[in-house]
Amino acid sequence: MNKSILKAVVILLLLSGLLAIPRYVESPYALHMMILLFLSVMMGQSWNILGGYAGQHSVGHAAYFGVGAYTTMMLMHTKQIAPWIGVWAGMALVIVVALAIGSICFRLRGPYFVLASIAVAEILRLSAINLTTLTNGAEGILATELPAFKIGGTIVTDFLTKVPFYYIGLFLVVLTIGITYLVQHSKLGYFFQAIREDQDAAHSLGISISFYKNIALVISAVLTSLAGSFYGIYVGFVDPPTVLGLDVSVQIMLICIIGGMGTLWGPVLGSLVLVPLSEALRSNMITEGLVKIGLVNADSKIGLFLKENLSHAHVLLYGILVVVVILFMPDGLMGFIKQMATRRKQEAV
C-alpha cells in the first residue's frame, strides 16, 4: 500500500513540475522539445494499447494518425471549422476507418496481420495523394492561422506562443496515460493480455476474440487520431508522407519497442530516449559537441561531412536502435530495467 502512495506522490510532483515549466522556461525551443516529447508519448502509448497489451502489432498506425491530422486540417482549411471541433470529426471518422480495417485485418494472424495493416495504410496514403480536390494531393495542406479559443466571449488563448500548445500536449499525454492505466486495471486489460499471450486459450475462457480486438483497436486508433490532429494543428502543415507514410507507422511502433511494450511507462521511456537523440542529430548538436571536446576538427573533411550529413541521420539512428534493441533487449528498456532489478534482488538474497 505504501508503495502505491509513494508512486502517487511522485506522479503528482512530476505533474506539478510539468505544469510549472512554462512559467519559468521562456525558450520557445525548449517548449518545442517538450511538445515533441508529449506527441511522441501520445503516439507510443496509443499504439501500446493495441500492440503492447492486445499483442496485435499494427505497422499501419499512420492510417489513424493521418486520418486524424487530415480531417482536422481539411475542415479548418476549407470550411474554417475550428480544430477543437474538427478533432471530434477526426475521431468519429477514425472509428469508422478502424472498424473497417479491423473487420479485414483481424481475420488474419501474425505476419499476415502485419502485412494487411501496412497495405491499408498505404492505400490511404496513395488516396491522399490522388484525391487532389479533397486533400490537395502531394502538396499537402498548409493552415497555420488558428482562430482564437474563446469561452463565453472571453479569449482564453490566441495560440501566438508555444505555451497553449504545451498545455494541450500535456493534457493529452495525461489523458492517454490515464486511459491506458484504466485499461490495464480493468477487465479489458486482462482480456487484451490474454489474447496477446494465447488467442486460443483466451477464446476457451469465454473471451470473444474479435470483439475485444476491435475494442483495443478503436481505443488505440482514436487516441492516435487525437495525436495526429494535435500534430497537424501544432505544425500547421500535413502532407501524405509526413502523416501517412510507412515511416510514421514504424516510428510509432519504435517508441514502444525501445521503451517496452505492454508496460505503462515504456512509451514514456522510449520517447525520452528517442526524441532528444533524434533532435540532437537533427539540429547538429552532436557534431558541435564533437568539435567542442576536440574529437573532430570543424574544418577537417570529417567535420564537414558530419556537419553536412549527420542532421539527416536520425532515421539511421532509428534503424540502429531497432536492431540493437531486438538483438540485445527484446523486452525494451523497461524489460531490461526489470531484469536488472530482479538480478540485484537475487544477488542481495
Binding site: A194, D200, G206
Partner: protein, 239 residues
Amino acid sequence: MAILEIKNVSKFFGGLAANSDVSFSVEEGTIMGLIGPNGAGKTTLFNCITGYYPPSKGEIFFDGKRMNGLDPDKVCMLGMVRTWQKVRPLAKLSVVDNVMVGALARTSSLKVARELAMEQIKVVRMEHRADFIAGGLPIGERKKLEVARALATQPKLLLLDEVMGGLNPAESEEIIQLILDIKKRGLTQMVIEHDMKAIMRISDRIVVLTSGEKLMEGSPQEVVSNPDVISAYLGEAHA
C-alpha cells in the same frame, strides 16, 4: 439427466474422417472417460464440442441447447470449458492473473475476480505460487493452473484433455485426487486420458474411440473385459 448429448457427430478434414458418427451422452455429476489409441480423434471431438471446429455432421446438445456452430467463447459462457493437452498458460502473466482471466468471464469487478481466482488456486493447492509468472512454472503446476483457470469460469461441465500427460506418478496421483474432489462438488467432467489405471479409477463410464469411431461404451469393468478394446487399444499400447 444427460447434461451433454452427442448425436451422430462426424468431422471430416478434406476426405479424412477424424470422427465418424460418434454418439453418447454424459450424465450430470458423473465423470466420463474418453480413451483410445493415438489418432483416435479424442482431441478432435473435444474441439468439436467446445466450438473450435464446427462438426461436419451430427448435433451436440449441452444443457438442452444445440451447440453446433457456437464460438468457443459462447460455449464457455454457457458453462462448458476445456483444458489443453499441450498446456497454454498466459506465459507473461502471474498465476493469479491467469486464473482471474477465467473468473472475469463471470464478473467485471477485478476485486471479485481476484477472490474467485484465489478460491480456485486453493482448490488446486497452489497458494504459494499465486504471484509466480506462469511461464516459469514446472509442467505439473502448469497442468494444475489449467484446471484452476477453467474452474474459475464456473463451468457446469469440465473437459480435461490429458491433464496427467507428462507427469510423474506422484503428480498424477495429485491430479486424480483433484478430479475426485471436483466431482464431489457436483461438477460433471469428461476426461481424455492415456493412463488406463487412472481412467479406470476415476470414470463412471468410459467411451472408447478407435480411428474416429466409437468402439464401445460402458462401465470401466465392462471396458477392461471387452476383447475388442483389449486388441484395439491395450494390445497396441502394450505391444
